[in-house]
């Protein structure tokens, strides 16, 4: 009954669409019904309808902006007109701190700034010259070239330029054909970046690593999240071989194949690397969630179970106890403020799921959640992958096949142990968001402006967690909005200490006195005082 009422409300919103839009959008929305035994399906990773005010970005944004951008020791040259490079200059808050003898190019933005003549006569010459100048001025060990829409159209051969430069200057030069029009969202760009990193970087190093060596995949160190993860994991005794790609370096990534385990935070943007490394190097990956106290604890225990070492397990429990003791009083204080509130989440490809856990820790129930550029497996779990039909748009994104690397392939777990463990921890598996959502909650894929506005009106959440484009829409309507892409320039929000920062920020946003001032006093109090006329 409850579901029917919500469904009716949603239908009323969607019915206002023109017929073709209605037909499309209704497949992207569902009301979670936990009483249904069979899995619920949702449509995702399909084209956004033209004219719809979407939050989605492009292939370039996913490749350069998200996955490659955080690597601090690479000079990333955007090959194209100026805007694309400019908008990805320092805007994602992927923090990076150099170690003594490295170079950190994160404060720099490099572009070929193509002009009309280059579009007409081709931009390859300019790109070659740009690479030459970058080498002369910065002497980087690695240069990435990322292409933009017009570059693909005019047919500049960026691969040839990269090959030429690599030969000419004896450094790594890698090209990424991530033109904005490819695919249906940022997601295609993640895949292209993953392919390039696997092909050209991962596996090229030969550093020696220790016993508990791991990679952290899909952690971009927004607001210092990666550093908090690193702090906790190192405290337990893990060695972080590489972080992909927050505060990461090409140097570190080259040794990633040496690690014993891949720990995957953002499934959507990096699962390709996880899978390819499994095939190529035998490394297992495990899905973790370091957003939320309980989920951080679970993730730490899952990793410890993988290694199955009594000392490591004991150390894990000791660290958990220590950290909990440290944060519990503060967290409890903020929990009292937040508890009982409701939230709607619309973020990227994992955070809409991850943050439900942290909000739950604070007593906040998620009533709506959606991803901007996810695929069905992010909603329904990886078991649906074989049944996802490939369409023309996804075929345009290259899917590379890798083979086991005879020198570096090794299995950490025995066959028996693997079989046992995969039932206990999310080993090479992500179960998706829907299964962990409350009954009656709404799931919306590629939420757009109209739906945002209408759903906010119907659901009246206390908190709307989205990005900058939506933030002030919610604020104007009197709903506190928290950016979960950039954290409103705060953070970290991950791990134990991050949970407290998040709780503090949410409590602050809910209780800031300004919300009460929207209505001026003269609207509610009489201002004209009557006077009795005297004769």
């Amino acid at each position: 009954m409850k579901h029917e009422i919500i469904k009716k409300k949603i239908d009323k919103v969607l019915e206002k669409y023109p017929a073709a839009v209605f037909k499309n959008r209704k497949e992207h929305v569902l009301v979670n019904d936990c009483s249904i035994p069979e899995p619920q399906t949702i449509t995702a990773n399909t084209r956004t309808i033209p004219g719809i005010i979407t939050n989605r970005g492009c292939c370039y944004a996913g490749c350069k902006g998200v996955v490659l951008g955080p690597l601090r020791d690479a000079v990333i040259i955007t090959h194209g007109p100026i805007g694309c490079g400019y908008y990805t200059w320092g805007t994602r808050r992927n923090k990076g701190k150099k170690k003594s003898d490295e170079k950190n190019f994160l404060n720099y933005c490099f572009s070929t700034d193509l002009q009309e003549g280059d579009i007409v006569f081709g931009g390859e010459k300019k790109l070659r010259q740009a690479v030459t100048e970058a080498v002369q001025i910065f002497q980087p060990k690695t240069i990435f070239i990322c292409s933009t829409c017009p570059v693909g159209l005019i047919g500049d051969d960026i691969n040839a330029v990269a090959a030429w430069a690599q030969n000419e200057y004896g450094i790594k030069v890698i090209s990424f054909s991530c033109e904005g029009y490819k695919g249906v969202s940022q997601s295609g760009g993640h895949h292209i970046a993953n392919n390039g990193l696997i092909r050209h970087i991962i596996g090229t190093g030969d550093a020696a690593v220790g016993k508990y060596a791991i990679n952290i995949l899909g952690e971009y160190n927004i607001g210092g999240d990666g550093w908090e993860l690193e702090r906790i994991l190192k405290k337990i005794g893990y060695e972080i071989v590489s972080m992909m790609t927050g505060n990461g370096t090409v140097e570190e990534l080259s040794n990633a194949h040496k690690a014993a385990l891949n720990v995957v935070q953002c499934h959507r943007s990096i699962n390709y690397i996880g899978e390819m490394m499994k095939t190529k190097y035998g490394q297992d990956w495990i899905k973790v969630n370091f957003i939320g106290v309980k989920s951080t604890i679970k993730s730490l225990r899952d990793i410890a179970r993988y290694f199955d070492d009594p000392d490591l397990t004991a150390r894990t429990e000791a660290v958990i106890a220590e950290e909990l003791e440290d944060i519990t009083p503060q967290l409890e204080h903020f929990r009292k403020i937040c508890s009982g509130k409701t939230a709607a989440l619309f973020v990227g490809g994992s955070r809409a799921h991850h943050y439900q856990h942290l909000l739950r820790d604070l007593g906040v129930e998620t009533i709506l959640a959606g991803y901007e550029f996810a695929h069905r497996d992010d909603y329904e779990g990886r078991e649906v992958i074989p049944s996802i039909k490939e369409d023309g748009d996804s075929k345009n994104i290259e899917s590379i096949e890798v083979q086991p690397d005879p020198e570096n392939f090794r299995l950490v777990l025995s066959r028996e142990r693997y079989e046992k463990l995969k039932d206990e921890i999310p080993l090479n598996y992500y179960g998706g968001m829907i299964k962990e959502m409350p009954d009656g909650s709404i799931v919306v894929d590629d939420l757009n402006h109209y739906e945002t506005e209408e759903f906010l009106k119907i659901l009246k959440p206390d908190i709307f967690c989205s990005g900058i484009k939506d933030k002030y829409i919610a604020h104007k309507a009197g709903i506190f909005s928290k950016q979960l892409h950039s954290y409103d320039y705060s953070g970290p929000y991950a791990g134990f200490k991050g949970a407290v920062v998040f709780a503090r920020d949410i409590a602050m946003g809910l209780t800031t006195p300004s919300w009460k001032l929207a209505v001026p006093p003269w609207k509610t109090q009489p201002v004209l005082e009557g006077r009795v006329a005297t004769c």
Binding site: G51, R56, G85, S111, E133, P150, G180, Y181, K469
Partner: protein, 453 residues
């Protein structure tokens, strides 16, 4: 911070490092938001639209609504006609604007999409309008995009219906809503009948009321842009952002155009008010004369806070031109002036100012912040002025920094308060003086820390 920027000048012909401009469509989107009940539409990949909306939102901290044609590879190959027609249909039925202002992107420009033909074959509801501007990013900058969209407003909308309205048209240029409000206040104080377009005040600085309104109260009414063809003259504030629109009006509707500096600083504001006065026959009112007097009073009283200081200025050309003029009038030395927007006239105009004031300065159009930084390493300045991206240089060189222009992403309230007019000039002086005096205080030994400055 910016550790690898060398002092030694290195000739570059291909690599732009730390740009001082962005692309055309974001300027076109901003201009289009200055039309009442207009939805800007980005014809290209959805990434462009997402970036532009993000960028404007970060600058103004207000909702920026715009739709996109959401190209995929198919559209890039076969043309974006079908996407645009679908988009127009959907936008009117879902978002119901009065007018859609389409701007192109690198993608749709490179494949040569013929927008007017697509518009003509689209379903446009009765009474609704669709206009467009070509905004390829491989030409000009965001300022060019702003200018192109303003010109398109005239091209598509303005009509000389032989019914003179006695109004003065004002094209305010790529300035903040707070500046647009101030320009309107000055026009009202002058008693002038006027139409200002575009006008983003009350769109991008709209009040919090507890209710989201997709089309806030602000923006120039379409009817007024149409009627701009009947005005007695157009004042284009800022040659880079506004003159094309004004000349288009002259060409199309025979409304004479006059190009002025953006009214930043005392001289440019004087010129602006004098021009309004000449056009309308109205004398500059006492109130404004009083404001001017206050400004001069401040300039005289506080000259020692900034006189003789060397300043580096970067940003959009119209801002840089006016600000350089103002700095000179304050007795400062604008040592370096740089814009990312191309334009020889920019360099010439600044050079003329240098020559007139006897300043040995450097100027560059189509420059980048790497060049500016190298200049500052070669010979340091006392103050840096420009958009947020200057903070990296300010930190690297430990130089006081005043945020002014577009974009400002790391400070708030700037978009509400004017830098134009006499009041705006006071604000600029306050910002500059404070930055310089804060630095003096920071660096002072205990015995030198002054209570009164």
């Amino acid at each position: 911070m910016l550790d690898y920027t060398p002092k030694e000048y290195i000739q570059r012909s291909a690599l732009t490092i730390n740009p001082a401009k962005t692309c055309q469509p974001v300027g076109a989107m901003y201009a289009a938001l200055g039309i009442h009940k207009c939805l800007p539409h980005s014809h290209g990949s959805q990434g462009c639209c997402a970036y532009h909306r993000k960028f404007l939102t970060r600058n103004f901290r207000d909702p920026v609504m715009a739709s996109t044609s959401s190209f995929t590879e198919g559209a890039a190959v076969f043309g974006g006609g079908s996407n645009l027609k679908t988009a127009i249909k959907n936008v009117f039925s879902i978002y119901n604007p009065d007018i859609i202002a389409i701007h192109t992107t690198c993608l749709s420009e490179t494949i040569g999409d013929d927008i007017p033909t697509y518009i003509m074959s689209s379903q446009i509801p009765e009474g609704k309008l669709v206009i467009h501007a070509n905004t390829p990013s491989y030409q000009g900058s965001h300022v060019t995009g702003f200018s192109n969209m303003v010109r398109s407003m005239v091209k598509y909308l303005s009509v000389n219906s032989k019914t003179p309205n006695g109004k003065v048209n004002v094209i305010p240029g790529f300035v903040n809503p707070g500046d647009m409000r101030e320009i309107k206040r000055l026009m009202k104080a002058m008693g002038a009948a006027f139409t200002m377009f575009p006008d983003t005040s009350n769109v991008l600085d709209a009040p919090m009321t507890g209710k989201f309104d997709m089309y806030p109260k602000g923006g120039t009414k379409v009817q007024d842009i149409i009627d701009a063809g009947n005005s007695l003259a157009t004042l284009a504030l800022g040659s880079f952002a506004s003159s094309d629109g004004a000349f288009e009006l002259d060409k199309k509707c025979k409304v004479p155009a006059r190009v002025l500096k953006t009214p930043i600083g005392i001289n440019a504001t004087d010129e602006f008010l004098m021009a309004v006065s000449k056009l309308t026959g109205m004398a500059v009112p006492e109130d404004l004369e009083e404001e001017r007097g206050q400004l001069v009073d401040i300039m005289v009283d506080c000259h020692y806070h900034y006189h003789g200081k060397k300043v580096a200025i970067f940003g959009d050309p119209d801002l840089c031109i006016a600000l350089t003029d103002f700095a000179i009038s304050l007795g400062m030395t604008p040592k370096y002036v740089l814009t990312g927007t191309p334009g020889e006239s920019f360099e010439n105009e600044i050079r003329d100012m240098f020559n007139a004031a006897g300043i040995d300065g450097k100027v560059k159009a189509l420059g980048d912040l790497f060049t500016l930084h190298q200049w500052m390493k070669e010979e340091p300045v006392d103050l840096l002025m420009g958009g947020t991206h200057g903070k990296y240089i300010a930190r690297a060189e430990d130089v006081p920094f005043v945020r002014i222009g577009f974009p400002i992403l790391d400070r708030s309230v700037h978009s509400y308060l004017p830098i134009v007019g006499y009041k705006g000039a006071m604000r600029i002086i306050e910002m500059m003086s404070n930055a310089l005096l804060d630095r003096q205080d920071r660096d002072a030994a205990d015995e030198d820390l002054e209570l009164i400055m």
